[in-house]
Each structure stands twice: as structure tokens, then as C-alpha cells.
Symmetry: D2
Subunit: 240 residues, 4 copies
Amino acid sequence: MSIRVTVWSEYRHEQNPGKPQEVYPNGMHNAIADFLKSQPGLEVRTATLDEPEHGLTEEVLANTDVMTWWGHLAHGEVKDEIVDRVQNAVLEGMGLIVLHSGHFSKIFRRLMGTTCNLKWREIGEKERLWVIDPAHPIANGLGEYFEIPHEEMYGERFDIPQPDELVFVSWFAGGEVFRSGCCWHRGRGKVFYFRPGHETFPVYYQEEVRKVIANAVRWAAPPETAVPEFGHRPEPLEKL
Amino acid sequence: MSIRVTVWSEYRHEQNPGKPQEVYPNGMHNAIADFLKSQPGLEVRTATLDEPEHGLTEEVLANTDVMTWWGHLAHGEVKDEIVDRVQNAVLEGMGLIVLHSGHFSKIFRRLMGTTCNLKWREIGEKERLWVIDPAHPIANGLGEYFEIPHEEMYGERFDIPQPDELVFVSWFAGGEVFRSGCCWHRGRGKVFYFRPGHETFPVYYQEEVRKVIANAVRWAAPPETAVPEFGHRPEPLEKL
Amino acid sequence: MSIRVTVWSEYRHEQNPGKPQEVYPNGMHNAIADFLKSQPGLEVRTATLDEPEHGLTEEVLANTDVMTWWGHLAHGEVKDEIVDRVQNAVLEGMGLIVLHSGHFSKIFRRLMGTTCNLKWREIGEKERLWVIDPAHPIANGLGEYFEIPHEEMYGERFDIPQPDELVFVSWFAGGEVFRSGCCWHRGRGKVFYFRPGHETFPVYYQEEVRKVIANAVRWAAPPETAVPEFGHRPEPLEKL
Amino acid sequence: MSIRVTVWSEYRHEQNPGKPQEVYPNGMHNAIADFLKSQPGLEVRTATLDEPEHGLTEEVLANTDVMTWWGHLAHGEVKDEIVDRVQNAVLEGMGLIVLHSGHFSKIFRRLMGTTCNLKWREIGEKERLWVIDPAHPIANGLGEYFEIPHEEMYGERFDIPQPDELVFVSWFAGGEVFRSGCCWHRGRGKVFYFRPGHETFPVYYQEEVRKVIANAVRWAAPPETAVPEFGHRPEPLEKL
């Protein structure tokens, strides 16, 4: 059975002339979606901010197993009711993969309960991502580390809850470290934060980055467990 | 140096004739505060929902190291701006101890990012709290378990993020289990959820329950670490 | 590609007349293996204590992706060199599923670093296993809880490291609780402890128990990550 | 009440002419112990490998709340019976702070269950330790990071169980990262691994390093919880 993936992106940088448009002429979402479409067992669609309901209608969510999320300039334009909808979907089992500047999206901050703040610097320095947990399926197929030749720096302190599982830690040439691959369970859903992906560098074309996203999609696919019944339970299970 | 504690409570049940008022004639907050005042090194005040700003002015928060929170009927009446204020205080280092039905408070749900839903039953059955992590300071001075003769039942699935440290698991006579003592770090602050404390039973007079709350207050006292600088960092730490 | 499973069992109880033999005439290992053989994508063999090298030759280990382990009477008879071999295999990626009284096996204690001690009582009381983490793949296909009508009781304090992921907590009629489904990563390998399976009750014929074991086998399959290079690294990755 | 600390060290490097002796003329243990003695509420003694029973008699252990451990050349000379004794002490509540090359000590590997292997390089490069968890008491009094101008490099993959709490991550000039401050509970005891401290650099004279060790001693002090009763429990707590 296929995993149904919705690749969501703000899609603003790439609509105007400039570096992001040169790097991603069809938008970052299509670069990600095109790759995922080439993977067996995935059914992939895209959705973007300026579509009605940001492309995230009830119907789309009902047919999404895993969503990836990239946003940057326009976090504030994402409507609270759509954030509610995505949060509910996650708590009911949908996987969510938050990419790069999505750390500051309403949905990620909502699910984390913290500011999700960090340090950043945009001089295109080298990033080296070390595999900290080689037993983790999200690291499948990787070597001990991989490098991104030019990236925006994100540095600790990254204000997130301690990850349930920490998969990657980044080294930056300028002197910082960062927890670059972080897993959490929230409700019946799984959340993965993956750091790379500044809009001015061709990061989402890089093989290792794509491998991680594909692995994360499989890891984050919804469980088939029963939905818990919450609320009042009139009768005890045992005779008292 | 003293730990400055603010015991917050909704204080509604106990203002009207009935079981809660009989059990806690001065309100639950005073039962908790009176005990904490008897402990060395704690400076204790109370605050309640119906005071201006719910008793949680900027000035009170600036002078609070650890807050305890009990609410039930009126979670919806807590103003969002005060929830923002308390959340910020936690992220900046204030400890927060959420008691019993406080699981459904805005502040706890905000910090957790999940529904915080659970099962419940009100027949006054027996609860037995097992110490799962005897190395934890919140279990100091306890035996292997303690019992509360009559309590409301809370049952799993409890929809919370996996605790960083799980201190207690409850057994209920009616057949359920519950993660009754759960620790998380959020920002520079610490959060402890402690299950017992239904308003119709004299739970907050019980010695073990009081010991746990006092231990938790000490555990949750703010760290003295530097406040991280977030945001743009123009210069790398290393020469590139 | 198939997952190659080795079902290991002490196979002593069932060789002599008595309840275990009545319940498992071909041994517990065959009851488990026969079920796993019926599952798609698994290649299953068995191995037992009294075979040469306990059936766990270098060749067998080199061809095992996931091992299940049941032992009870004869933990002390397992040779240390075989324990070394199994430990190495786990650290290099083999999954290990430790069942019931296997909590006291040399291999489990070795991997945990603690006594793995617990409380126990053998009156055949009821056990109810609650799903604590419905997002976890090991809970796939289960309801909110399942019951085993008659089981040996295992009670907390269970002296193990805090699980990386806690999937099940058991309620026992006699008043105890127990962390019944616990996950850890060790090296490149995954370890799952699953509580049920006393030799005098037909637990390994129960549908939910079988589902959990099958789920755990899939969860514990080895990663395809690079083997880390350890030791001396003469040259820095960066020019200094 | 004082915390009784035993500072254990191999004390071999410093007995022969060379860099370690120049840096630590009275041995590393005395450099650490002298500092700890200056801290309020600590009672400090030392013990070294070449004393009878490595200085770790039953009597010493019975009077130790927290032990620090530094070893390097002679891990293999530590007698297994003394390792058993220290492991038992930890499981019964003694805190253990493992320093630098102590990662490869028998006691640390025993408590972790993994190889505890890592990468290393000895060119005296810069290490910068980032505070990852500013809510943690072991980070008390520190800034956002601190630097050690010249250190041996230790690099990931560090083959340890996922820490219960990750306090520091190191950046190394040569391109590696490392989980430099890691907490675990084992039995009723607490274990902290702290990376810095190569024998040829004056690391244990550095203020921040000393602050971390002092904080860790306080964090690791034994709990006052009841010792769990393990084993057979003939009677249920509840009537069945």
C-alpha cells in the first residue's frame, strides 16, 4: 500500500527573480516532490501557501499519510484554522517532516510548545552532518557523515524539547553545532525535523539529503493502532 | 537562598457548599501552600483565578521560581495573555508543577503541544503509585509505592509527549494504569505533571503526596545558566 | 528482501512431562517460529541451548537479522563466549527481542548494564497490557489494550535503564504495574523487551502477543547504515 | 549533610617524567580533589590504581556518595571484582562521574552495555562545548558555550546508549562533533560522562571544567528512596 505524501511549501522566494528562483525554477516543493515520485511506494502531491486553504483542505488532509513542510518568509500568513487542522491530523497519526526554516512555522512551534528559536548566519559555510544514531531507519544508506558544501548556519541553543531520538548533529565551519535530525512522537503521529535546505543553495538536489527525506517519509507513515477513546468511562474494567 | 513558590489554583469548587469545601475549607491552594510554608528554604504565596490578572501579574511572575497549578472547571476562563505570560516564564526558567485536572489547562496543553486527553472515572477507587525511577530526586523519601485510598481514576492513553523522565506509574483498582509523575524540560524551565488531587478527597493532606510536591518544587527550581542569545549572528566564531 | 529470524529458546521445561510440555509439545521456540513462518517476508529458523554452541555458531549469527530469546532455568549454562558473540552481533546491527524470563539472561543483563531484577508471583492472575505509545510500529494492529487471562506477574521496580521508547505498561490484578514493552538502541542494533510468556500458559498462541512479536521483528531489522570507523584518526577533516 | 566524594584515578602517566607530570605534578586526582575540597558541603578523598584493592575497599565504597573516575593506560589492570563492587555501588545509589578516557574503562562499558568506542586525534586542537540543555543543573553557572584551547579530539560515532539527558555537544576544529556531557540513571544511581581531560593539557585547572564537575557531583548525589525488594512476592497486594 502506498504512502500518500503531501509536499507543502510556502513558494514565495522562488516566484521572484533571484537566487532561489535560479536554483529552484519550479519551486522547492517540486524539486522535493519530483524526487519522492521516483521512489517506490510513494504517492506524491504538492500544496502551497497561496492556494485556497493553503492547499490543505480537509479532503487533502484526509488523504495524506505524511506531510513535508517548508516555510520562511510568510509563517505569519498561515491561517490559524489550517494550523489547527494540521495539528489535529498529526495527533491522529499523520507524519510531519519539518524542513529547515520551517523550525519557526506555527505548526512546528505549536507541536513543540517552545520558541523553536536558534542562531543563524548566512555566509554559505560548510556543514557536516554526523550520524549519531546509526541504528535509526532515518540514517539508512548513509555513511558516517555527509557534507553540504555551502549552507546557512543554524546553531545551538535550539529551543526544542529533547528529541525522543537524535539522529544527526551538524558541525559548522564557523564554530557551531546543531541537532539537525530530531524525532518526536506527538499523539499517534510522528514528527521529524531536518535542518538543511536554505533557499539559495541546491541542497534538495543533493543525494544524501534526498535519502534522508525519503527515509523520514517511510519512518513517519501512520501507525495502524486503534484510536484511543478519551473522556468519561462509566464502568470499571474490573469488578470492585 | 529561598525558592519562591506561587501556588496557583482556580479556587471555584471550594467557594460553594459541598464536598470540596468540606475537605478544603480554605481552598486547595491554602492546603498546599500551608504545607510548603512549613518546609525549609521555601517562600510561598498563593494566587487564584478571580484575582486581577488571575493573581499572575508581571511582578508576581518576576518573583516566582516555581509555580504549582490546579484547575478544573474554568480552564477556559484563563486569559490567553496570562497563559502567554506563564509560558514565557517557564521557557525562561520558571519551574511549573501541574496537578491533577491541570492536565487540561491551557498552559499545560500549550507546553506539551498535544491534547493531554485521558480517560477518567469518579467512583473513588484505590490508586497505588509505583516508583519507577528510584534514582530520581522527586522520589526522595518515598517507599517503593504509596496508596491513595480513594481517588478519581485517570487512565491511559494519556496524550502527552514521552516524558524525559518517568517517575511514577499508577495502578487503579478498576483496571487502568497511568503515567502519574512525568518530567520534561521546556526551554530553560522544568515541568512536572503529578496526577493525584481530586477535589472531593483529602489527597493534598496525605504525607506522600506532600513529599512529592515538595521534592518537585526543589527539582524544578530555575537553573543559573546564561540566557541563550537567539537570532542573527553576523560573525563566525572561527576564521574562515 | 526477507528478514532472517532465529528463534532461540532454552528448551528445557518442555522436554519433561508437565504443564509446559502439555502447552508447548514441540517447545516454545517452535510455537513462536511456526507463527513467524506464516508471516510474509520472514525466513525463520530455531536454535536451542543444548545444540552445539547453543545453536548459535558464527555462521548462524552471520545469517541472522533478528533473534528472539527465551530462557529461564538455565541462564547460567549459556557460555560466556556465546554471550559475547550475540552481544557483538547486536552492536553490529542484529535486532534482539527478549521475551519474558529472558529478562534475567546474561545477554540482556550485559546489554542493559543493570541487574534487570523485578518482582514476580505465580498465581496465574490477569494481566492487561495498555498501549502507551500508539504512534509506535510495535503497537500496529492492536486496540487500546489487550488482556492475558492467566499469567505470571512481573512487578516494578524493574531494574532497567529508562527505555528509549515505552510501548506497553501492564496492569496486574494483584496490584502491580510493569513496563511490558521497552525499546532501546544499542550500537547499530535494536533491542525490544516483551514481558508475556510464562511457560505454563498458552501465551504464545494468543493473537495479540503474536502480533507484537511480528511487529517487533520488523522494527528490529538491521539498519543499512555504514559501520562507524572507530579509533585513531590521524588527519583532521579540516585544514587547521 | 556533606556529599562524600572519592576521586579515583589511574595515576600512571603522572608518575613518570613527561608532559602529564609537568601539568599535574601531584597527579590529576589531586588537581580534581583539591578543587572539590574548596567547594562547600563536599568531603573529598582520593584513591588510585596501585593502592591495595585500587583504593576501593568495601569500606571506602560504603562511605562514598559520588565517585569520579579517570583512567587510560591501565583499564585492563582494574580487577574484575573491584569493577563488580563499583557497579553494585552505582546500582545501589552511588553517583559515578566518568571523565575523558574513562569512556573505555571496564566500569563504564559495564554500565553502558556497549563498546563505548569513538574516534580520537591528538593534535591539541580547539574544543568548544555548547550547552544543549540550559535547564539542566549540570550546566549551572555556565555561559552558552565554553572553549578549551587545546584538547585531544573525541569524535562521533560515540558508541553509547542514548543519554537520558544530553547536556553538552562539542565542536572540534578538525571537523568532528561529540556528545560531551551525557546523563543516565542506572539502578538507583546516576552516571555522568564528561569528555574533557587529556593528560597533557591543563584542562582540570580550567574554571568551567571545574564548575561542571562540581555541578555533576551535586546532581549525582544518591537519592533517599527505598531500596526496591526484588524477587518472589508470594501474596498479591489485592484480594483476588
